[in-house]
Point group: C2
Chain length 302, copies 2
């Protein structure tokens, strides 16, 4: 998995910072997570191919998470897109997009498949051979989901010394990494387990934005390789966080720790803070492996 941050600030776009949007690349599939105003500018700026986006996940219907969507759909249309587009988001998203396109008499030539969500418990919304996506119900002022992305690790690592001793032909390696047994020339069946290491764990990326502090998500995001968690505020503004149902850097770190995540990316910063290092310092008191999101930053998740 590769994660590219397109925008990671709360509220409205500014001269040099954009609201929530990310591209998660799983085995060549570009998934767009949230789509604040100006997302299409960032998609261009960071060289993401528009046509590579087939699935869009909208956490909730606050403007800084979806006001870029009508423009992006229009741009797809102008580019002559024919491929289907899946949009996962809260109930209501279809009506508003259809109304906007209807007012502009902008009939589109590709199918948009809206998967409208209203479930209050986790639900698997997408699954194929390579990955799956489940919702993470969050606590915000309006109906909001985070998303758990699971990359299925299918290939096993070879025990090369054993394989070479058995004189197994290289042409069979592709089958072996996929878990298949081998029949030797003399008819002996070699069990796959003898010549491969145990399959590694699936890779998990959890996206939690926007949300008040909640340890109910702990089970859902357990052992994530990377957790992106919103930290709109610092602890000194805990009252504002409570009032607006957002989190502080320390709270994000507590979630990462309880869920046994390997790395925490902080984002969705309020633009009131000039020095973002304070977020890192605050979170590191609780959880060591903390990094700050930044527009354009890329993360390898493995």
């Amino acid at each position: 998995m590769k994660l590219k941050i397109l925008g990671c600030y709360s509220a409205s776009p500014r001269k040099n910072s954009f609201p929530s949007s990310q591209i998660l690349n799983i085995n060549g599939n570009n998934l767009l997570i949230d789509c604040g105003e100006g997302t299409q500018i960032q998609i261009r700026r960071y060289g993401v191919k528009f046509s590579s986006i087939e699935n869009i996940f909208i956490s909730h219907l606050h403007g800084d998470h979806f006001f870029g969507l009508p423009g992006l759909i229009s741009t797809f249309r102008l580019m002559g897109r024919t491929k289907r587009l899946n949009i996962f988001g809260p109930t209501g998203i279809k009506d508003v997009m259809n109304l906007i396109l209807k007012l502009g008499n902008s009939w589109i030539d590709f199918e948009i498949n809206y998967i409208e969500l209203k479930e209050k418990t986790t639900v698997k919304i997408l699954e194929n051979d390579l990955f799956s996506v489940s919702t993470i119900p969050l606590k915000h002022r309006i109906y909001t989901n985070g998303f758990l992305f699971t990359e299925k690790i299918q290939r096993k690592k070879l025990k090369l010394d054993k394989i070479k001793k058995l004189n197994i032909d290289e042409s069979l390696y592709t089958n072996i990494v996929m878990g298949k047994d081998v029949i030797l020339d003399n008819g002996t069946i070699i069990n796959n387990k003898e010549i491969t290491h145990p399959k590694e764990k699936d890779i998990l990326y959890s996206y939690c934005s926007d949300t008040a502090y909640s340890d109910e998500v702990t089970d859902l995001i357990k052992d994530s390789n990377v957790l992106y968690h919103e930290s709109t505020f610092l602890e000194k503004h805990i009252n504002l966080a409570k009032k607006t149902k957002h989190s502080t850097a320390m709270q994000a770190a507590m979630v990462a720790k309880k869920a046994n995540c390997k790395q925490l990316i902080l984002g969705h910063f309020s633009s009131r803070y000039k020095n973002l290092q304070d977020f890192e310092i605050e979170a590191k008191r609780i959880f060591k492996n903390v990094v700050l999101a930044e527009d354009g930053k890329e993360f390898d998740i493995s």
Copy 2:
């Protein structure tokens, strides 16, 4: 009047160019004309005070002219705006804005006064002591209005030599420039016309975007000091212009010439053209005083 171009490209925002949006300053009043996606970024970039905007004019409901509006309204809200906001635009604009705000549960603390337009002939939509605004019905794929902005010239220039001969006190000058007569100490009434030059003509700015070529607008925009006219295409793509109901640079120049405008600003360029100078060259064959719009460019209109 001062005109600041915030965006002047057609279709979607790109890394370094924005869709239609302008700030027209008349005597300190900032009027926002169209509001493509990312307009609030440009408002920040070019140092326009958000709170100074009280009137927004939307020509039509294609995305590149209004997808920045929900985000701008949200930003007004986040900034604690209390002042009323007037939005002039095609019927339907109120419904879509209300639906978007309702989905986000984003109740706003200031009044938005929607003036929804459906008239197919020109109508005066705003008038005060300083200026007036009328619609310019245009020919596009959907219902579209341009706007004619008229700055009322109220102050007359003094005939200082005559005034001094008559020994008129300087404290009366303010009344005289506003057209009032003067009574001398000996009781003689001096008619205002004797001591002032004839009032200069009102200043006119016409905004015509988006539109197919149409000389029906000629009468409405007659003698404009400045005409901003869309020129999405060059003549070599006249067929595309006809098909999409846009104009070429040459057609824009023909309108400016027929309407006896003093200056023509070309804008709404298709991003297919790398060299915008071709627009200027093409238009200048018909009409001399042509300039190209450019994001961030400012024009004095007088």
